[in-house]
Amino acid sequence: MISDNPFLISSPPHTNSSSGSYDCVFPNVNATSRLSSQIRSSSYIGSGPHEMQYLKDNDNSSIGWDSYSNSSPNNKFQLPGSEFFPFRSKGETEEQGVAFSADNMYPPNTSVVNSLETHNCVSTFEISNTLDSPLAQKAENMRRQADSSKGQGLRVLELEHSATDGENQNDRLIYINDPKLTNDKYEFTGNEIRTSKYTVITFLPKNLFVQFHRLAYIYFLVIAALNQLPQLAVFGRTVSLFPLLFVLCVTAIKDGYEDWRRHRSDKKENNREVQVLQGLLYSSKKWKNVRVGEVLKIHANETIPCDIVLLETSDPSGIAYVQTINLDGESNLKTRYARQETAVKRPEREPPSGLIRCEQPNRNIYGFIANMKIDDQTIPLGPSNIVLRGCQLKNTAWIVGVVVYAGQETKAMLNSSGAPSKRSRLEGHMNRETIWLSVFLFIMCAVVAFGMLMWLVKHKEELDTSPFYRKIIFTYENRGGEKYNYYGVGMEVLISFLSSVIVFQIMIPISLYISMELVRLGQSYFMIGDQEMYDSNSNSRFQCRSLNINEDLGQIRYIFSDKTGTLTENKMEFYNASICGVNYCNAKSTVECLVQETSSKNEERENIAEILDGQVLKPKMKVKVDVELVQLLSKSLSLHERKVAHEYFLTLAACNTVVPTIIEMPSPGNHERNAANLSYEDSRSIDYQGESPDEQALVAAAAAYGYTLIERTSGYIVINVLGERQRLDVLGLHEFDSVRKRMSVIVRCPDNTVKVLVKGADSSILNIIAKTSSGSEAAPLNDLIRNTESHLTEYSSQGLRTLVVAAKNLNEEELKRWQCCYEEASTSLTERAGMLRGAASLIECNLNLLGATGIEDKLQDGVPDAIESLRQAGIKVWVLTGDKQETAISIALSCKLLNGSMQQIIIKGTSTEACRHLLAEAKTTYGITRNEKQKNLSKRQKSVDIDEGEGIHGRRVPGMEEGHSPLALVIDGTSLVYILESDLEQELFDLATSCKVVLCCRVAPLQKAGIVDLIKSRTNDMTLAIGDGANDVSMIQMADVGVGISGQEGRQAVMASDFAMGQFKFLKRLLLVHGHWNYQRVGYLVLYNFYRNAVFVLMLFWYILYTAYSTTSSLTDWSSVFYSVIYTSLPTIVAGVLDKDLDQKTLLRYPKLYGAGHRQESYNPKLFWLTMTDTLWQSLVLFYVPLLSYKQSTIDIWSIGSLWTISVVVLVNVHLAMDIQCWAFFTHAATWGSIVVTYACLVILDSIPVFPNYWTIFRLAMSVPYWLNILLITCLALLPRFVVKAMTQRFWPSDIQIAREAEILKRDSDN
């Protein structure tokens, strides 16, 4: 009866021990509430999955129940009347509110725990297929945590928080196939999507509003507004608006262009077509016209246009397969179901009708709560009944569904928010220096105002008539004595202050903001375009999702890396087999093996392939096989080893939840090779869909050895055993759970024997195998166990994930007892988990040990090399993984993070006190002292450097005893719970920072963020988190730089990240090359921009001292405005994008060069002050050379202004030219070009007769002193800088300069 149930087909969430290793306990409220609230505020994603899990659990359990309730067909889909699903038991009016409090989310604390407990074992049938592994693991976590009722407080807090959202909102009513009625009542959005931010009309106000969020822009707006006051109008009024307008325009154009692109893609998206039921026929309709309530028909391989509830599918049982890669990035197929009640109606004949009551649109892609009223029957709907926008229909001819959420309300759209914006460290420092500049600005203005005051007081008597001041208007006799623009001394001083603010405004460089943005844009362009960071496997380029933190990449000191999918590929490969105490580990590739095999054992080769409908079925996945083992399998079944091997592979093939799907995809490699032997033209391959890669690997391995899993339903499994098709009836299945740490399946073999096939973690199975076997076999048995154990140790030391496989035959009596127990448990309403566990324990005992498996968790390409380089670069790589300690250590060994010479400190405590003790012990053993003030960056950093540099040689390690090898800290999640919630944080920090390597195993997602926060809050060091799964989101968002691996686990990490890339190894290039360049470039850009504007402002300031403090500018208005915008901006941008100090080869060769970023060599307060001193000198030269050389001459204000304009432009450009390290064509063009442009502008400005400066430049150009002045200013002003540069170069070169010298001189000699 169970076997008839279609819902039993798929798998429990977590069947196998190694991937079930995320069994960490959630930290208590105190420790993480701070954290979780942070994450919550930044994004939904961080906290989302946990909440989703609850939903899922609840909902699944209901369905699970369905399948077990197995009463009459009518009753089949109705829910048992628990306190959870009161649809039936409660009245109609009550239904709404209670239903939502119950199923929408979060019932009060105890009931959640109880319900979870209750439904623990039977949970997640169909949905489990939709779980990606980390999420499933989280589900595990939740359940376990509920079991231990440890993290209750935290959970409940979150739950209650969200519950209020759910309860207060009205639910959504959708009348099936009646869009009119549906949309009349409620304002549901149409299916038109708009990712663009603006429309033509709203663009201007909205964009301006967004732009003025920048404080700097407000500053300039105020300045421009001040300048509109006639008393203060230093510049022409229009001229003063120019810089602000320019900046606003550039940003607006940039935003506009981006938005236009979004519009374009929106339009494309909106105009796709879909079949919509109209009357009795389906007709095409554009996506944007689809409305809620309409019934759609979607065919295979089409994309789903909106969130639809399935009504019917081409499959009679209502199954549909979808691919959700766009939604969560998982490439495996997921099953969705149409309810049987709706499936039997054919919409073409009888238009469907009914009412769906569902929750308000939300972002939870794993949750959906609704019920459907159809034919006076209320049917609950869950996430398995809804197909979301963006999914693709696969393996199903068509589906029919009703639209419940459309357009912006779809879950995909609600989830498409970007990463939180971060600000770069350098920009933060830059703001600090900007404050200094403001102080300078204030001082200068105060000096001018004070001077004005003194001057006015001193010349009080003369002001009335002095020809150059004249404050009295004499023109009308009767009005004689009226003051002309004179408001009294106080007011005059104030005006003088304000107008000097206007004159000196560019001291705060507005152009810097726009330059920085453009430079980062350019840098991103190069990063994205870097061929070396293109991943051909996933066909993905590097992505810059955040434009604000490019330069942070050059200063990373800590890398927090996820393991699975980041360091490893998350592609499991069956590697080693230990069967009956024999280790088979000489796996060769299939092809090789096949060749060998076909030559020796031709007939068997053919047997391996299953012949079905005249076609060959081959597993899609290729696995290396061991020849000896293949040979063993060819032997007769009577042999003991052979028999063990048979059961071993039977277990691998059967004891899992993998669903085989047949794909019409002839694999050319196989095809060619097999064509000779097999006369079949087409071969179809089997794709194994399972939520755990380990299981897939095992099934594929079994298939490679000839035990091909062909079909799986809830009632039976079809396995092709070496060519012979065997049907095994499934009598029962005990899912993996964290207590038992094993999974078992009870099958009846064709020969009518009943077998229990078990696989699980070594620790759990080795306890329940039969220790004493009947009589004579005792000694070999012990050998077997010992051998297997040694193999297990060997495997894990190689970094393999291990599982133990066991089986036994059941006799009828045992079977009956178990069946009785099992059925009782399955139908029980309370304590089901416990009862099922009890049932399992009846048969999971006295097992025969068959052997063990070793699954390789393949390291990604180039990971050890990348880690080594990063370590040399002075970056600490921490691995935070959900895996168990042994796996973590073995992976760390294989990626060279750990090596044998390291002293491993393992912290694994089960209470606060134990952890405290362990930490203290470790600290005293290795003589680690408390790092008191971590914020004292420079000193601390030095000691770390020495630690890194010298420690490895074992010469001298400060704070450590002689002779200690480098330390490695291994800490597990449970200990972290105790440590992070207590005062031990500091202890851990001290210990961890003294270690060369830190491994954290079995950590929960929130703990990952907690660890990042541990470092972030205690040091000034930059942190980078890299990960690929949803469980890394919190850490990615917490770290200064978040990098997402666009791998297999989903897009969530990418969506939350600042940068996304295909593989871990790109990190090396990203940091060492691009990070270095970006940091150098932006650091210089900022300093140079400060200098450039300050030198100009100071020049103006000196002049004002010679104009009776009257804020006269000798430069024309236009030149003042153009200076930072046109005359000098381009070279800085070009240099900021293109300049490079070192070649990438050098940077990769000497990773230590990255230390420049750690030491903040490109931008630090010392450099700032040096630059400012230099600026002072340069401005003095700039001002006084013309002043003195034209002393007592006829020089007029416009001529000297013109001279100053040119001089300052030449000066700052030559200054830049002196610092440019790589002269490409563009650099030349920009640098010299801007001098030419300046001349051109001056020529144009001086050719307009109305301007008082008419013809100045031509006159000047004919006089010799003019040119001599420019030459002298340039040389004299830059002389100190050049001397300092030459001196440091000669006597105290930095690493970069040394490397540069080597690089350039070597190249010269090469040529």
Binding site: S331, P467, N537, S538, Q1144, T1194, Q1221, W1223
Partner: protein, 358 residues
Amino acid sequence: MASRNPTNPNHASSSQPANSRETNPQPRILLRKPKYNRFTQQELPGCRPFLTPQWIITIFMLVGVIFIPIGVGALLASRSVVEIVHRYETECIPEIHRINKLAYIQNDSISKDCSKVLKVQKHMKAPIYIYYQLDHFYQNHRRYVKSRSNEQLLYGLRDNSTKSSCGPETNSNGVPIVPCGLIAWSLFNDTYKFSLFEDIELHVNKTNIAWKSDREHKFGKKVYPFNFQNGSLIGGAKLDPSVPLSDQEDLIVWMRISALPTFRKLYGRIEVDLEADDYITVEIQNNYNTYSFGGKKSLVLSTTSWLGGKNDTLGKAYVVTGILCILLAVVFFLSHIIMPSRFDPKNISGHKYDTVDQ
């Protein structure tokens, strides 16, 4: 090792529908590998300057070698200029009036004539430029600088809109002033007459003293002074209303406001040579009121060189800079001889690290 896994990556990448609007608008089915190009891969060939000791020494030497001759040349030119400066703002006031200079200068009834004798120290070659020099006169004061109307100077009263910039000298008795503004109003009005040994009159050429461009394009040929200096307070010189502004060269010179509070303005030229020990008698009309603000007045006779007037600053600065550079070149050269150390990339603080660690 070939990748053997059920989730074929190509499978994953080929199925990206148009919904992927967040990063890439084009369907992902395209091979997205960035194209190789030296620009995008940041491998553009470029000159990469590096300061080797040779370069440093060469640059310093070069600057020194160029600067010293220029400096010497400039100094020689400056020294060749013969200059006679005569400050007269106090001397030209009779003793009795020196107590209240302001009253003296404002009293129109007293003659402002003043005769001075200057001795020529060295031979002065024609043309000899006559300047007047003012001190403490802030022609660059913002209130002063702004008080003019360029449009009016060029187009006359035709343009009404810009008169406001001329305050406080916009109108006089309700009638607009041409040229308006403080600058024109305060036009310098001392005059000089020169004679050699008291009897031979030296002709002062007052044409072409202003910039040609100013005369031809900035000051209107058809704009005539109007209602000028008619107010109650006379700021300076009056203008002949029958002469267009473009020919009022004193005004044009004056209107080209000076950059600094001490300035010279060209008054005219004497186009005969003066010999050493010649005596020149100058008849000064001391009209201009600098007494109200304590300004100084000087009369300057000067020849010119290719460098302009007498000013040693440029020459000295060049020589000093040049010498400094030569010295630095020597210092660097010596340091190179004594300590020709080259830094090895092996010295990069961590490079030894990777060799040992391997």
